[in-house]
């Protein structure tokens, strides 16, 4: 199977640029890259969700055009999505035949499917009780159902999008055994991931994507995690940031034993403790999806923390409840959220209205909102932060990404907070604005503010931070000094590949966890996704 010269743009964003990729039959082919590198877009083109703007797809030497997923299935391409596409209150077998029924009556299809499932289970070690309801299955078993669905439809090429993101280590191992069996039986597997460990463990070949382009395709046996990390992160020019050495003062933000779960009750932040002092920038590095978002949300009151405490300026603040963010703001914590469109702005409202979001109660006495004062201050900030167009009465959706980000930054910085939490300050922002934003953040630091910075841009973390914490799988796996740490080391830490000194820790942690040394660890083990029951049939 091969892809030649694939291009795909979403508006001004070029998600895929001249991508060439060829995958040999009967191999496991890994595709790695940072979030937003275009991996998922490429696979969606292959699976017919999107149509490429240009470029061709060849399957078994023949050029094909794939316009929808049925078409892809007919060509033997099956996909296992990151988020499962299963009907929760249907049984396994019903989900497998869904959309592939042979006749109006279900009976014959189901009995045929039952036979095939038995065969597939025998051939590939894909045991799942066909009559169990999906909602009763563990995440790992649900994933197996997804694989069965694809195989039942005759898939020869199986695409797995971040398959281990939701799995426990034991479930991931099981999945890899299944994938190896599938490969040995002649199936082709494309594995999308950003975890280098998995690439090294299972793939035969690996392609690295960065910023919409295909950087390189390598034989896994001939490469190393270091090389892949370098290719993945890229050697972009460090944006030089002019800054004086930090002079940290007293602790302004203190996070202790923080545990945060996501919407599904899976712990994403696992017992994190750290401090940020006045006059320093602490950067949190990590590949997206390793708990940074949940960490930011919990500290800023957007998500209820499960355990632990957050202290601002020495004072313990309850961030619990849907008005936690207001209490934190009152305590002097400002927050520039990761996703400004979804979280930090109401794009249907006007510029001046967004310029007071979160602080609206300080405009006007009594019930009334002092619109005049709000507009006047918004106009001042527009001037100071050079927000364009300089129009407080313009709907926020009509500003460009960089200017929207400036609206948020201006709002949060001009309140003169003690602690500033910044998530992805330059995501989707053009170069000129990036420089400006970086300068503002440094200026805040020099004014004695405590700043916590989270970014997926490693360069940004390295050039701005005075200390770097590396987050992997919800835990701080290392702390580095940006002056001395090199990109390779950080990249490896971010990818969860520990240095030779760290495996000891890992082993210790693993050995310790089940014994519930502390209440937090006990809770964590209890919250972990159900470890699959042993196949008792």
């Amino acid at each position: 199977m091969s892809l030649v010269g694939i291009n795909k743009s979403f508006g001004p964003v070029r998600a895929n640029r001249d991508i060439d990729l060829s995958v040999q039959r009967g191999t496991v082919h890994g595709i790695v890259g940072e979030n937003g590198a275009g991996k998922s877009t490429l696979m969606s083109i292959l699976y017919g969700f999107y149509t490429a703007d240009s470029g061709t797809i060849h399957v078994s030497g023949k050029q094909v055009s794939i316009t929808d997923s049925r078409h892809a299935l007919a060509l033997g391409i099956g996909m296992v999505h990151q988020h499962f596409m299963l009907v929760d209150n249907f049984s396994v077998i019903e989900n497998v035949v869904l959309g592939a029924e042979d006749s109006a009556l279900l009976g014959p299809t189901l009995s045929k499917a039952r036979e095939q499932l038995k065969q597939l289970a025998k051939d590939y070690g894909l045991e799942v009780d066909p009559d169990a309801l999906i909602e009763d299955l563990s995440v790992g078993q649900q994933q197996r159902v997804e694989i069965l669905k694809a195989l039942y439809r005759g898939a020869d090429i199986l695409i797995l999008d971040e398959p281990t993101g939701v799995l426990t280590p034991a479930e991931a191992d099981h999945l890899f055994r299944i994938l190896k069996t599938l490969r040995d039986e002649g199936k082709t597997i494309i594995l999308i991931t950003h975890k280098l460990r998995e690439i090294m463990a299972i793939t035969d070949e690996v392609s690295v994507m960065r910023q919409g382009t295909m950087v390189k395709t390598l034989q896994t046996a001939e490469t190393s995690p270091e090389e892949l990390a370098e290719l993945m992160v890229g050697r972009r020019v460090l944006l030089e940031v002019d800054k004086k050495p930090a002079s940290p003062g007293k602790v302004m933000l203190e996070v202790e034993n923080l545990v945060v779960t996501d919407d599904f009750g899976i712990p994403r932040v696992k017992n994190i403790s750290f401090q940020v002092r006045a006059g320093e920038i602490v950067g949190v590095a990590g590949v997206a999806g390793n708990g940074q978002s949940e960490l930011l949300e919990a500290i800023s009151g957007m998500r209820d923390q499960t355990l632990g405490s957050v202290k601002v300026n020495g004072e313990s603040i309850s961030a619990f409840g849907d008005d936690g963010a207001a209490r934190l703001r009152d305590a002097g914590l400002a927050h520039v959220p990761e996703d400004r469109l979804r979280e930090g702005l109401v794009t249907t409202l006007l510029e001046w209205e967004n310029s007071i979001l979160g602080y609206h109660n300080s405009y006007g006495t009594g019930l009334g909102l002092d619109v005049g004062k709000a507009k006047a201050e918004a106009a001042e900030r527009i001037e100071k932060f050079d927000i364009r167009p300089a129009n407080t009465a313009l709907k926020t959706a009509n500003f460009s990404g960089g200017n929207q980000q400036k609206i948020v930054l201006a709002r949060e910085m001009e309140r003169n907070p003690d602690v500033l939490i910044v998530g992805q300050p330059t995501r989707g922002v053009d170069i000129g604005a990036i420089e400006f934003i970086h300068k503002q953040i440094i200026a805040m630091r020099d004014a004695g503010k405590a700043i916590l910075l989270v970014s997926v841009e490693l360069d940004e973390i390295r050039s701005l931070s005075d200390r770097i914490l590396v987050l992997f799988d919800g835990e701080i796996v290392g702390e580095a000094d940006p002056a001395t740490a090199d990109e390779g080391t950080l990249g490896l830490l971010m990818a969860g590949v520990h240095e030779s000194t760290t495996p000891k820790n890992e082993a210790e942690t693993e050995a310790r966890l089940p014994e519930h040394v502390t209440p937090i660890e006990k809770t964590l083990t209890e919250m972990s996704p159900r470890v699959e029951k042993d196949n008792s049939q």
């Binding site: 957007m302 849907d322 959220p337 249907t348 409202l349 709907k395």
Partner: protein, 367 residues
């Protein structure tokens, strides 16, 4: 799902609703023709009936009053992202508050009883809307479902209270004891001869004040700001520290209080007693009014007037053109609701083709 193309504001706000109403009348006209009547005559009679003479106009304004309150009850909640389908029940229960206070203060001058009726009606309506609000905020029960069901509960509860407790001995129909004339909400014909023989009363003035008040609340207060943030982007509301649950409960209570003013208009101003099922659909019309008015007080005022005119003109029509029955009027009203509410965006695609300009941030609207 196709994305909405931005249209010039006047097209969205004025042209689209007007075209929808015209389309509804066109289909309505065809229906009138099918039963063998002249649609132009029918329209003439309706317009005359609604606006042509003092008493008719008075009736139009009386209905408009109900629809403004019910429409605002839906609009206020809508600003906070809540679909309040319960003004019918909220108004009905408010009737209990109005009649209890009015009967307790019976005989006192209206300057005393009317404010008391307004407060009591508001409180009862607010309480009835607060419960679904609480259930949504604290228990996650969907407000659409609960407010609809609370309409039914209100009907049963009020039926019981009226027939078993409020009905005086010796009265056959299901209604409460009457309020003395001096204690009722004064009708405008007392002050203004034009509205002779029509029930429009001081509640209409109250409705106009409510329109202004809601505008002020939504666009000129901190609470209104929080409400709009919540309605437009709940995630950003949480980010801003706006308590979702608190906002929902307060907003719903406020909506219920506005719906409760329907009872002041009807129980206190017209009937002078609490009659079984007195709301008779005004609350549901409020939903259509709010949607046609895009949740904005100005739009609510216009669409409430349209529906008021339809109600009054329709009755005139049923009276003057024997070929057109009461059911025919309901059909035309339903067509207006259908075209402006449920199918309000049906004419959007062709308008988009006519008016679409490629997005250009610098030329976007300034207000």
């Amino acid at each position: 799902m196709s994305t909405r193309v931005p249209l010039p504001r006047w097209v969205d706000v004025a042209l689209l609703p007007v075209l929808n109403v015209m389309l509804a009348f066109l289909i309505g006209g065809i229906v009138v023709m099918l039963v063998g009547q002249n649609p132009l005559d029918a329209v003439g009679i309706m317009i005359y009936g609604a606006f042509g003479y003092g008493s008719g106009f008075g009736y139009t304004l009386y209905y408009t009053t109900d629809f403004i309150f019910a429409g605002l009850a839906v609009s206020v909640a809508y600003q906070a992202g809540l679909f309040n389908i319960g003004p019918e029940g909220q108004a009905y229960v408010a009737g209990l508050g109005v009649i209890l206070v009015a009967l307790a203060l019976n005989g006192l001058p209206w300057l005393i009883t009317v404010p008391a009726m307004i407060v009591a009606g508001g409180l009862f309506g607010a309480a009835w809307a607060f419960i679904p609000g609480y259930l949504q905020a604290k228990r996650g029960s969907h407000i659409v479902i609960t407010t609809i069901l609370f309409n039914f509960i209100a009907v049963s509860m009020m039926g019981y209270i009226i027939s078993k407790h409020l009905k005086p001995v010796g009265v056959n129909s299901d209604e409460s004891a009457p309020i003395d004339a001096v204690s009722r909400v004064p009708q405008l014909n007392v002050f203004w001869d034009l509205f002779k023989h029509s029930p429009v009363n001081i509640s209409f003035i109250l409705a106009l004040l409510a329109l202004v008040g809601v505008y002020w609340l939504v666009w000129r207060t901190k609470f209104g700001f929080a409400m709009r943030v919540l309605g437009q982007n709940p995630t950003a509301a949480r980010y801003a520290g706006i308590s979702n649950s608190r906002m929902i409960m307060i907003t719903m209570a406020l909506a219920g209080a506005l719906a409760g003013m329907v009872a002041v208009n009807n129980v206190g101003g017209v009937q002078g007693r609490l009659i079984l099922n007195f709301v008779s659909g005004a609350g549901f019309v409020g939903v259509a009014v709010a949607f046609m008015g895009k949740g904005h007080p100005f739009g609510v005022a216009l669409s409430a007037l349209l529906f008021g005119a339809l109600y009054q003109g329709g009755q005139e029509l049923a009276f003057s053109m024997p070929g057109i029955t009461r059911e025919m009027i309901v059909t035309i009203q339903a067509l207006v609701i259908l075209f402006t509410g449920a199918m309000g965006d049906m004419l959007r695609p062709p308008l988009e083709r006519v008016f679409f300009k490629p997005p250009n941030p610098s030329s976007a609207e300034g207000g």
